[in-house]
């Protein structure tokens, strides 16, 4: 299935969980947030939240700013 992650189209295993997506991307869950289709998914749900074809995922963190 195809999922848009941070503006990049990725081909992923069907029904991959957010937890496994982050492992695949080598992203730590510390100080970050995820939106799927503009809805925030709490960290407690990463283990069981399964993505579906066409989902738009944003992986977000804090960067330098004023």
């Amino acid at each position: 299935m195809k999922v848009m992650v941070n503006k990049k189209l990725l081909v992923l295993d069907n029904k991959i969980t957010l937890e496994n997506l982050l492992i695949e991307l080598s992203v730590s869950t510390k100080y970050m947030a995820i939106e799927v289709n503009e809805m925030i998914i709490p960290k407690s749900q990463y283990e069981n939240y399964r993505l579906k074809d066409g989902d738009v995922v944003e992986v977000i963190n804090a960067v330098g700013g004023g």
């Binding site: 941070n6 991307l25 992203v27 925030i40 963190n61 804090a62 960067v63």
Partner: protein, 261 residues
């Protein structure tokens, strides 16, 4: 003299610093340490997933256990975008709901869109966010934002990143005189004297980024700003002398052996 308190937490430093525009994270950290700031602003952005795995996350460098992290809504032009960003920030920071609300209206001036700012502030306050709000130097708007329930009002000295210093002293003075919450001047500082002049008006604090990060020597400027904010604050409470047109001798007039008439 009084304590600098934001949402029940007392801060030893009245200087809040941004983390943008630095050469690297190491310089960011050194400048923050030199500034003495205990609260630092960050922006909320899409993670650069393809980046070098050895590049640390900003918040692994600027420890949220040590500093109060103030996420901003920079780059948002509508209330909806700002609220979305605040909710993401709360998720990033494990539920902490202190935010710097800025809703911009124009790319050239980066002036705040006050209508959208007020709309966002109302919703965020209802959603239990502690809102520190960036605004213009309009005293009536500042009071409205206080009445909405913002924990601090942060009027600009001059446009963001301009370095023009304080442009409207009497408006800032009116805002300070009418306020029952901390007034923190945010944006427009150029150099140390700008910070002192603002604090001498009785402001509670200053938020700055570019003046430090883009100085030739950011760490040294951070140290200068720390002293300037402290000096201005102490001078305000010490009470300045009235201005006079002519001289007033500092040494005694009497018993001058060279002028014994």
């Amino acid at each position: 003299m009084n304590n600098f308190i934001i949402k029940n937490k007392t801060y030893g430093s009245r200087l809040i610093v941004g983390t943008g525009k630095y050469k690297d994270l190491s310089e960011t950290k050194l400048a923050i340490e030199a500034s003495g700031a205990e609260m630092v602003t960050v922006a909320i952005r899409r993670m650069n997933i393809g980046q070098d795995k050895n590049t640390p996350n900003l918040l692994e460098f600027i420890d949220p256990e040590k500093y109060t992290i103030l996420p901003n809504t920079a780059g948002c032009y509508t209330a909806e975008d700002a609220i979305r960003t605040c909710n993401i920030a709360a998720e990033i920071l494990d539920g902490k709901k202190l935010v710097k609300l800025e809703v911009l209206g124009d790319e050239k001036t980066l002036y705040p869109n006050i209508i959208e700012t007020m709309r966002a502030a109302e919703i965020l306050v209802q959603d239990d966010f502690d809102v520190m709000v960036y605004t213009t130097d309009d005293p009536l708007i500042a009071k409205e934002l206080e009445n909405i329930g913002c924990v601090s009002v942060m009027p600009l000295a001059s446009p963001i990143g301009s370095g023009l210093g304080l442009q409207n002293k009497y408006n800032i003075l009116s805002i300070v005189e009418n306020a029952n919450i901390p007034i923190i001047v945010d944006a427009g500082i150029g150099t140390a004297s700008d910070a002192s002049i603002i604090m001498e008006l009785g402001c509670d604090g200053i938020l700055m980024n570019t003046a430090i990060a883009c100085a030739k020597n950011p760490v040294l400027m951070a140290s200068a700003m720390k002293k300037a904010v402290e000096a201005g604050y102490e001078a305000y409470h010490a009470g300045r002398i009235p201005k006079k047109r002519y001289a007033s001798a500092s040494s005694p007039i009497e018993d001058n052996i060279c002028n014994d008439e």
